[in-house]
């Protein structure tokens, strides 16, 4: 019993360490992007990629009947408006996009947020926001 607990603990620590290493590595901008504008665009682009993937996933899930149209409308309204904010303020989108994302997740019943059709895309937005959220001034 004790050995099993120790093994589980070791596995858990390894998983946490791996995630920490990967997160630390993922936070850096590529070395070929050198200007402040380029670095800002890189971070905003990484978030926009996940926002776009969420939008495509929501459209496909609604078309397949996996999520209802009103839920898809909430998601797609957010993705569209967030893309506008990212495009208009690539250095200052953080608070607006992160706050509105939290509001959107509160509006959608948990059963739909955890629907296999969209959970991966939802998690990807969470991860991207956690990694690339610009610091507030």
């Amino acid at each position: 019993m004790k050995e099993r607990v120790s093994l589980n603990t070791v596995q858990w620590l390894i998983a946490v360490a791996l995630v920490a290493i990967v997160v630390a590595s993922a936070c850096h901008t590529p070395v070929t992007i050198v200007t402040p504008a380029g670095k800002v665009a890189y971070a905003a682009n990484e978030v926009a990629i996940r926002v776009g993937e969420l939008q495509k996933t929501a459209i496909a899930a609604e078309a397949a009947g996996a999520i209802p149209t009103p839920v898809a409308r909430i998601i797609i309204t957010w993705t569209t408006e967030s893309a506008k904010v990212l495009g208009a303020t690539p250095a200052g989108w953080g608070t607006t996009v992160a706050t509105s994302w939290g509001e959107v997740k509160r509006q959608i019943p948990l059963a739909y947020l955890q629907n296999p059709a969209i959970i991966s895309a939802v998690s990807a937005v969470d991860v991207a926001l956690a990694i690339f959220l610009p610091p507030t001034r």
Partner: protein, 61 residues
Amino acid sequence: MNPGLIAALINQLLIPELLEIIRRRQAAKLGITDAEIIKEFNNRVLEIVTEGENWLAAHPK
């Protein structure tokens, strides 16, 4: 939450996403420039807005 479930979520959702970010960063090391990333970003934003507005127009409340 069950540690096994947490580990499964990390394995299936978090790590693949983070690896994808690293893969893109490594690919970017091959020579993507500031101008190219800015252009890619602007094109992506336009694509998302266009696709989203078209869907919303086709699915009014």
